[in-house]
Subunit: 351 residues, 2 copies
């Protein structure tokens, strides 16, 4: 309309080949001059694809969630998608439904749930999801036949952690748990119990914290009060383990000789704790990336093909000084030997 034509402009913008170089230059000049910017909104409307995926996150203040959202954002950018981020105060159902509606209204092409945890409430969310919807991936949720889920096997990983303590000859092994309303906290506790039961040992005391490092301090003190003679401790998060380390150091408890500690999460900083922390690393960013891949695959295959997958990503045992490698090497018969192979960091012990 401006200088010369009407929607030849469209062809220019979309870099179609069927435009004469001359016209093209003309149009481009006009665009430049008028500071014209094509509306992606209108384009989304007519094409019925927004090139957006919706991310429903809660607790981004937690290291894990932030890491996962990062993985999602990265993978989206790499695939030409963008993310609409909805941060929720909580995952209670009444909160979630309007958010999903919002995302649907914006015609996102997929939705990822990235919570710090998934409890039973997720069932309700799943029930309330409208039938007509883009693909959805739940992170850290119980497997279902209806939705793709991506997570780790918390129970096995916790068993692996506990077995590491057992391999060090520890027999009185306590657990500093996460809040037991959280499924992940319960799964980790169950893994701890199972490993002890397999070894024919009684569980040591268990106290729950709230994932944060201050709660590690108080919970560990309660554990010590319950049984000062424990020689092994499995902690549900690295942050709580940090609190336990502070108490142990303050009381002159020698780690790992007197008490060996294994954490959970794989914070990058764990290697610089005093002493460096043995921990289970979760592939948090990978989870996010994989969730995007799942979505894109489902989008591609939108024929009735089966696009529901349940993925459990492998975890790693990162060995630090708080619970070093046992003298006899990891058993070669370990069924998960590959995925769960221990990784030894440069457990730094200066001086």
């Amino acid at each position: 309309m401006t200088g010369v034509s009407t929607q030849t402009v469209s062809r220019v913008l979309n870099k179609r080949p069927d435009v004469s170089p001359q016209t093209r230059r003309l149009v481009e000049a006009a665009i430049e001059e008028h500071g014209f910017r094509p509306s992606a909104v209108a384009r989304s409307l007519v094409q019925r694809r927004s090139q957006m995926i919706g991310v429903i996150a809660a607790g981004m203040k937690y290291f894990g969630v932030a890491q996962t959202v990062n993985g999602i954002a990265e993978a989206c950018e790499a695939s030409g998608y963008s993310v609409i981020l909805k941060e929720l105060g909580s995952f209670d159902v009444p909160d979630i439904v309007p958010v999903v509606e919002f995302l649907l209204a914006h015609r996102v092409e997929g939705i990822i749930f990235a919570p710090p945890q998934m409890g039973a409430n997720i069932r309700h969310v799943q029930d309330q999801l409208p039938a007509a919807r883009p693909p959805v991936v739940f992170l850290k949720a119980d497997p279902t036949p209806e939705f793709s889920t991506i997570g780790i096997d918390n129970r096995s990983a916790a068993m692996r952690a506990t077995e590491h303590l057992l391999a060090l000859g520890r027999t009185r092994i306590a657990h500093l748990a996460g809040p037991l309303e959280w499924r992940e906290a319960r799964d980790r506790r169950d893994g701890w119990l199972a490993a002890l039961s397999d070894a024919g040992l009684e569980p040591g005391p268990m106290v729950a914290g709230d994932w944060g490092s201050p709660s590690g301090v108080t919970a560990f003190e309660e554990i010590l009060a319950a049984d000062p003679r424990i020689d092994g401790l499995f902690v549900g998060s690295d942050q709580m383990a940090l609190g336990a380390l502070q108490v142990a150091n303050g009381r002159g408890i020698r780690i790992p000789d007197q008490l060996a500690i294994v954490g959970f999460d794989g914070l990058p900083e764990a290697a610089q704790f005093t002493p460096s922390l043995t921990t289970i690393r979760q592939p948090l960013a990978e989870m996010g990336r994989l969730a995007v891949r799942e979505l894109l695959m489902a989008l591609k295959a939108d024929l009735g093909v089966d696009t529901v997958h349940t993925v459990e990503l492998p975890t790693e045992l990162i060995v630090g000084d708080s619970a070093p490698m046992p003298p006899e090497r990891a058993r070669a018969t370990d069924p998960d030997a590959e995925s769960m192979a221990p990784v030894v960091t440069g457990g730094q012990r200066p001086g």
Copy 2:
């Protein structure tokens, strides 16, 4: 069109008053039955407001950026806006321009830059920003007359940290700096130098790390090698301070008696370090929230009113055991006494 009418539906959806209750119920029933969902895309198109704000972030893997994005998302939700999150690999100019174009094409109503740092390159970004654009806020950037910026006064905060060490009677004060390509790292170094110069002292050795805790280990070892007799250390990030603590603990350096340490950032975990870390807290989430407020205010005032503000948020000295309160209380004449008032955490020292 369906059951009864055409765009009376619109009135129903927008909860307009001028619809008979009867029709309303009819329409609502039809909506429910057909699983109809209004298109926010079409609405954005016709109303010319997307209710979206664009966030350009880089380095969300860093605690600080994640925290800030969290604050942004929170504040947006609270105001009925949503965020389109673009995560960048880096803030090099060629990368950024297309991202801004993308956001503009999506008709975001504001843009926030949330990088881990802002170097000189930001100038180029600012220069390349098109003239016709929604309001933009830069986080952590140098003040400019053209754009709103929100950050902290790194230099003053670093002076405050160093003065705390001086108040403890320390005279050989070293600095474990961040990477000096970063403006923030340089500002903190300058604050350290200024405080020492004001006190008439020579600066101790300085070595730069990369913000991460492993680099704290090696950099601190270099500092010790350069001058083993230092009695104070100001560290540019809490994570690097964690590395320094590990080395100090490993070598039997008594903290704070032999060496007092002050960090920077205010990680929540710093209180559980061994020993608990004295540090400068930055209001990271607040920065994000404030950025959103800035944007919304600018939106409201879009008359030629002056909407460019330069905000420097106050920081806090959090006193832990690594550099305790000096015997004589903080000088009452401190000009920043209020905003910079030290906060004493329960520096935990068990047993």
